[in-house]
Symmetry: C2
Subunit: 412 residues, 2 copies
C-alpha cells in the first residue's frame, strides 16, 4: 500500500471553466483585447495516493469552454499513468501529449490544443513538485542538469540548440541566497491598461511609485493621439530615469508600426512589444531597424510552458546577448512565471542585467499561495508545488456559467 | 415575404462530428499521422428563406469534438446576420470571426479556432454561391475584382501585398472554355500511403497508370530503408519521364531532413514536402540549399480557407515565379480546392505551367456533388455552391460516436 502511494497513479483529471469579470472595470484591456474577462481552464490531476496536482491555462473569457473540451480529450492520454512513470521519461510524456497521431492535426503546438497541453503539463509539474515537497523552482534548481535536459523534446530545434549545448549551459550560476533575500526584479503593467482613464492612470502611477516600482509598461496601439497623451503623462510622472515600455498587442501592420513607433520614440520606451503579427519574423526585423529593442524572444513564452521557456533561456544566443523579460499577469501567470525566472537566474543566466519579469496586481487573492512582491521584486515562493492551486471557494464562485458571480452578472 | 427571402437571414447553425474509420485500412497514413480516421466538423448554416449553406473543416479523428465546440462558440457571432449583410462587408465578417476580443487569444488564426473559422466561412461561401445559383468558382470568376479584394483582410500583409497590387493582378487571364473542355491537371497521392504494403502499392500504381495518371506522390519519413525501396519500386513502375514527389509530413529535424533528402535524390523527386516543422522558415531554407524545390507556398493552404489561398496566389512573387500545387485529399478537400484552382487559372495565373492540384481517391461517394476526374484532370463542377454538401445518410451513419459505423466498430 505505502509503495503504491509513492507511485501516485493518476486516476482522473477534472477541468473547470473559471472566469473573472475583469472587463467590467477594463482591467487587462489593450488595443486588440478590448474587453477581456480573465479566465482559466483549471485542471486538477487526481492520484490514488490522494496527492493532487493543480494547473491551468490562461484565457480571455469566451471560448474557454473549447479549451476545457481539449483538456478532456488530452486527459485520456494521462489517466492510468503514474507520476513515477511520467518523470522517468518526461520527454516521452510531452511528445505523447503534443504528437498524438490524430490530435496533432489540431495544432500542432498551437492555439487551443497548445493551451490545453500547457494546463495539463502545469498540473503534472505541480504534482511532481508537491510529491518532492518543494516549490517548483527549487525542484528544478536541485535537479541534475541531465534530468532537466531529458525533460525537453529537441525535435525541430537541434539546428538551434542540441542536447549537448543545453547541458553545457546548465551550470549552477548563482547561489539561492541573494534571491531569497532580495528577490527578482519586476516591472508593472498595472497602471496603464488601454481602457483606464487618465485620472485612474495618474492615481495608479502615484501609488506604484510609492510602493517602489521603477519600470512601467503602457498599452498602446488603438489611437495615436491617446497614446501620445498617456505616454507623456506617465513619462512626466516617473521622470527621465525610470523605465517605460510600450505594448501594441499585435495591433499594427508593419508600416503602421514603423510610423507609430517613430512618433512615440520621444518618450524613450525601452521596447515596443508585439508591434505586429507575432509570427512575422521579417516584419519584426523591418520595424526593429527603425527602433531599437523588442521584447521579442520572451514573447515566445505566452503559453508559459516550461518547455518553451527553457528552450528560450538555454539558447546560446539568448544566454549571451538578449534580454529575457517574461510575460506574466492574467490569472496566475505571475504565480507560475516566478518559478521559471528563479531557475533562470540560479542555473543559467546568473545575472540580473537585462532581466526583469512583468507583474500585474490582479486576482492573486484567488490563489492558495499567492505571489509575494516586496519593493518591486518577486520573493521566492516557499510552498511545495507550482503555485497553481486556486481557492476552492473562488473556483466555485467564478465557474462559468453556473457560479454565483455569473448568475448575478446575468441577472443585472 | 419574397424580399425577406432574398436577404437570407441566418437563423441557426448546426455542427456535427462526422468520422470515417480510414485507419482500419491505413488510408491516409504518413510518417506523423500513422492512424488517421479522416473526419470533419460538418456545419450547416440555416436561413429564414430555407436556403442552407454547407461547410466543413478536415480533421483526423480524435479531437474533432473540440472543433465542434469551437464552431458552436463562433456560431454566436453569425446567427442573426443576413447573407446580404455579410457579403456587403465580407472583410468585416472575416475580422469579426477571427478577431473577437476574447476569442482571438485562442489562436489567432491558428489551430482549432482556425479550423472552426474555416468550417463556418466555407458554409457561408457555399450559401452565397447557392444564392447566386452558381458553383463557387464561377461566382468568383464573374465577380468584380474590386469585390474580390474587398473580401480579403489585409491586416499584417500590406508589406507583402497591398490592396492596389492585388487589384492589378486580378485581370481575367483566360476564358473558361479550356477548363470546361480539358479540366485542371492533377497528381495522385492515392497509391503510396505509408501503411500500404508493396503489393498494394504496385496494384494501385498499375491501376493509376491505366487511368492516365502521370504524377505520383509518395509518403516517406519513418524509415529510410522502407522509403528507398518504395521510391525505387514506384520510379521503376512509372519510368523516368513521369513525375514523382515525396512528402515527409513534418517528421524530421533539419539535419535529418538534409541527410534523408540526399539519400532519396536518386529517385529524382520533383519536390520534398514538409521536411520539418512547417513554421521553421530558416530550416526550410537550409534544406532547400541541399535539394531544389519545395511545395512550400502551397503548404500555407492546409486549412483551405479562401482567404489564405487568395493571398498566396495573388502575391506578385508567386504569380511570376513559384509553382502553386494545392493540397487536397482528406474528406472533401478535393471538392473544395477545385473551385479555387479554377479561379486561379481563369483570373490570375492564366497558365498551367508549374500548376497542378493534389487528388486522392477516397470518400467522394459521401458528397452530393462529388468531384469529377477525367484523364487525371479535375473537371469543373457545375452544381451551385462550394461542393461541400454531404449525403445526409452518410452523415448519420458516420456521426461520432452515435452513428451505426461507430456503434458497430465499438462492438467488434
Amino acid at each position: 500500500m505505502s509503495e503504491r502511494k509513492m507511485v501516485h497513479k493518476i486516476t482522473h483529471v477534472t477541468v473547470r471553466d473559471v472566469r473573472f469579470p475583469t472587463s467590467l472595470e477594463q482591467h487587462g484591456s489593450d488595443a486588440m483585447h478590448t474587453d477581456p474577462d480573465y479566465s482559466t481552464a483549471y485542471v486538477v490531476v487526481h492520484t490514488d495516493s490522494g496527492l493532487q496536482g493543480f494547473g491551468f491555462t490562461f484565457t480571455l473569457g469566451k471560448g474557454t469552454e473549447i479549451v476545457v473540451c481539449a483538456v478532456r480529450a488530452l486527459a485520456g492520454l494521462v489517466v492510468g499513468k503514474s507520476l513515477q512513470e511520467i518523470v522517468s521519461d518526461f520527454r516521452g510524456f510531452y511528445r505523447l501529449l503534443s504528437s498524438d497521431g490524430q490530435m496533432r492535426w489540431l495544432g500542432p503546438e498551437k492555439g487551443v490544443i497548445h493551451l490545453a497541453t500547457a494546463a495539463v503539463l502545469n498540473a503534472v509539474w505541480d504534482l511532481w513538485a508537491r510529491a518532492e515537497g518543494k516549490p517548483l523552482w527549487k525542484l528544478l534548481v536541485d535537479m541534475d542538469p541531465k534530468q532537466i535536459v531529458s525533460c525537453v523534446d529537441f525535435r525541430y530545434i537541434t539546428d538551434a540548440l542540441t542536447e549537448e549545448e543545453a547541458l553545457d549551459i546548465l551550470v549552477k550560476a548563482q547561489e539561492e541566497d541573494q534571491m531569497l533575500k532580495e528577490g527578482y526584479p519586476a516591472y508593472t503593467t498595472s497602471c496603464a491598461w488601454i481602457g483606464y482613464s487618465d485620472e485612474q492612470l495618474k492615481q495608479l502611477c502615484t501609488d506604484a511609485l510609492k510602493s517602489g516600482w521603477t519600470k512601467f509598461k503602457v498599452k498602446v496601439g488603438a489611437d495615436l493621439e491617446d497614446d501620445t497623451r498617456r505616454c507623456r503623462l506617465i513619462r512626466q510622472m516617473i521622470g527621465p530615469d525610470k523605465t517605460l515600455m510600450i505594448d501594441a498587442n499585435q495591433r499594427w501592420d508593419v508600416s503602421e508600426a514603423i510610423g507609430w513607433v517613430s512618433s512615440l520614440a520621444e518618450f524613450k520606451p525601452l521596447w515596443i512589444e508585439e508591434p505586429t503579427c507575432p509570427d512575422d519574423i521579417l516584419g519584426h526585423a523591418a520595424i526593429s531597424k527603425v527602433r531599437g529593442k523588442f521584447g521579442f524572444p520572451a514573447d515566445s513564452c505566452v503559453e508559459d510552458l516550461f518547455f518553451h521557456f527553457i528552450v528560450v533561456i538555454l539558447h546560446p544566443f539568448v544566454v549571451m546577448l538578449l534580454p529575457v523579460c517574461p510575460h506574466a499577469g492574467g490569472v496566475g501567470l505571475c504565480e507560475l512565471v516566478q518559478h521559471l525566472i528563479l531557475f533562470d537566474y540560479i542555473c543559467v543566466s546568473g545575472s540580473l542585467s537585462n532581466r526583469m519579469c512583468e507583474y500585474v496586481d490582479h486576482l492573486h487573492e484567488h490563489f492558495t499561495s499567492p505571489v509575494v512582491i516586496h519593493d518591486a521584486h518577486y520573493m521566492p515562493p516557499k510552498d511545495p508545488g507550482y503555485s497553481c492551486e486556486m481557492l476552492e471557494s473562488s473556483v466555485k464562485k467564478h465557474q462559468y456559467p453556473e457560479g454565483d458571480v455569473w448568475k448575478q452578472h446575468k441577472n443585472n
